[in-house]
């Protein structure tokens, strides 16, 4: 006859945590797929302007960025508070943009070269004079597909 044995000592069983790593890994993969690596460290302060008719930039590998803004606090001593242009990791002059674009384009696959997009990330307080210079340089380098980086405006 079966006998129900009763433990006198009733201990709480240890929680099985063997699936915890899997859960965390899933979280990790989720974050890896939805986020993107920072392209560069900003040396200029940029507050995106706002707009409504935005399109998403597809294919990260085809996009090159031009940053425009005032230098951040640590560079202000060296470079002043005037609006500056940043290409990759360094400050640059508007005249260097043409060479930069041509360089970047030649490092792309030939089939992709015509699809290159230049994203201008400029601070909203920037004066149009410097933007016009950049646009002229881009035209000269035949980088005609551009995108003005902006954030979605929710209300006026």
């Amino acid at each position: 006859m079966a006998k129900i044995r009763r433990n006198d000592k009733r201990e709480m069983p240890a929680l099985n945590t063997s699936s915890l790593p899997d859960i965390i890994f899933m979280l990790l993969f989720f974050f890896m797929s939805v986020t993107s690596m920072k392209e560069v460290t900003y040396k200029v302060q940029i507050q995106n302007p706002q707009a409504t008719e935005l399109t998403k930039l597809e294919k990260k590998s085809l996009v090159r960025y031009i940053y425009v803004g005032t230098p951040t606090a640590e560079f202000r001593k060296q470079y002043g508070a005037e609006t500056r242009i940043q290409l990759d990791d360094a400050f640059a002059d508007a005249k260097e943009i043409g060479d930069y674009i041509i360089n970047e384009r030649s490092s792309m696959k030939e089939s992709d070269q015509g699809l290159m997009t230049v994203s201008i990330k400029a601070d909203k307080e920037t004066k149009m004079g410097i933007i016009a210079d950049i646009k002229q340089e881009l035209r000269r380098a035949y980088a005609l597909k551009i995108s003005y980086a902006a954030t979605q405006r929710t209300s006026y």
């Binding site: 986020t35 690596m37 995108s147």
Partner: protein, 193 residues
């Protein structure tokens, strides 16, 4: 007796993956790359002079932005919020106004049939060197919005569908009825020699 293989202690696995997770959270950014897509005109050869191309005045819609970020649209001061409606009226020219762009009738095939549209209109944006980027972008945004709204209305009228849901073939036709023609003036140096 077979020796039992001891189980590997995997309790630190969670900690390791937590570390990795936190590393990725710190080094990546969540912001999506969005922007107002535009196309620049090809460069002018250096030996060619900048000419003021002759555009019929009624086909031209001039938007000027001054250094105070104020707008002058067709010779009138205007708030940026009214620009979209004004631009839409100009592009579509529903009443065939003599001061608005000339309408050309063309057969677009079914289901459009004969459509009158402003084929040769041009929207010209001129800004000052001291104009703020935000103001400039707002104007560009409103003009693009005007085109997008007109295309959307057209898609709803003929297909009862959103423009973005249409086949590429129809999208192209609608885009041809409302061709996006935003021209930016060659930067001129007014103060210089």
């Amino acid at each position: 007796m077979a020796k039992k293989i001891p189980q590997i202690n995997a309790s630190s696995m969670a900690d390791i993956s937590f570390l990795l997770l936190i590393f990725f959270l710190v080094t990546t950014s969540m912001d999506v790359n969005q922007g107002l897509a535009r196309r620049l005109p090809p460069p002018i050869p250096p030996d060619q002079k900048i000419e003021d191309t002759d555009i019929n005045k009624r086909n031209l819609f001039v938007v000027k932005i001054n250094w105070e970020n104020k707008l002058l649209v067709q010779g009138q001061e205007l708030d940026v919020r009214q620009l979209r409606a004004k631009a839409k009226e100009f592009i579509a020219n529903p009443n065939d106004d003599a001061n608005m762009p000339k309408l050309v009738e063309e057969d677009f095939g079914a289901p459009f049939g004969m459509v009158k549209y402003a084929k040769d209109h041009v929207i010209s944006v001129q800004n000052d060197a001291d104009t703020q980027y935000q103001a400039y972008l707002e104007v560009q945004n409103e003009l693009v919005a005007a085109y997008n709204e007109l295309r959307e209305e057209c898609a709803q009228q003929y297909f009862h569908k959103s423009y973005n849901d249409l086949d590429e073939e129809w999208q192209k036709k609608i885009a041809k009825i409302y061709p996006q023609k935003i021209s930016e003036a060659e930067p001129k140096n007014y103060g210089g020699k």
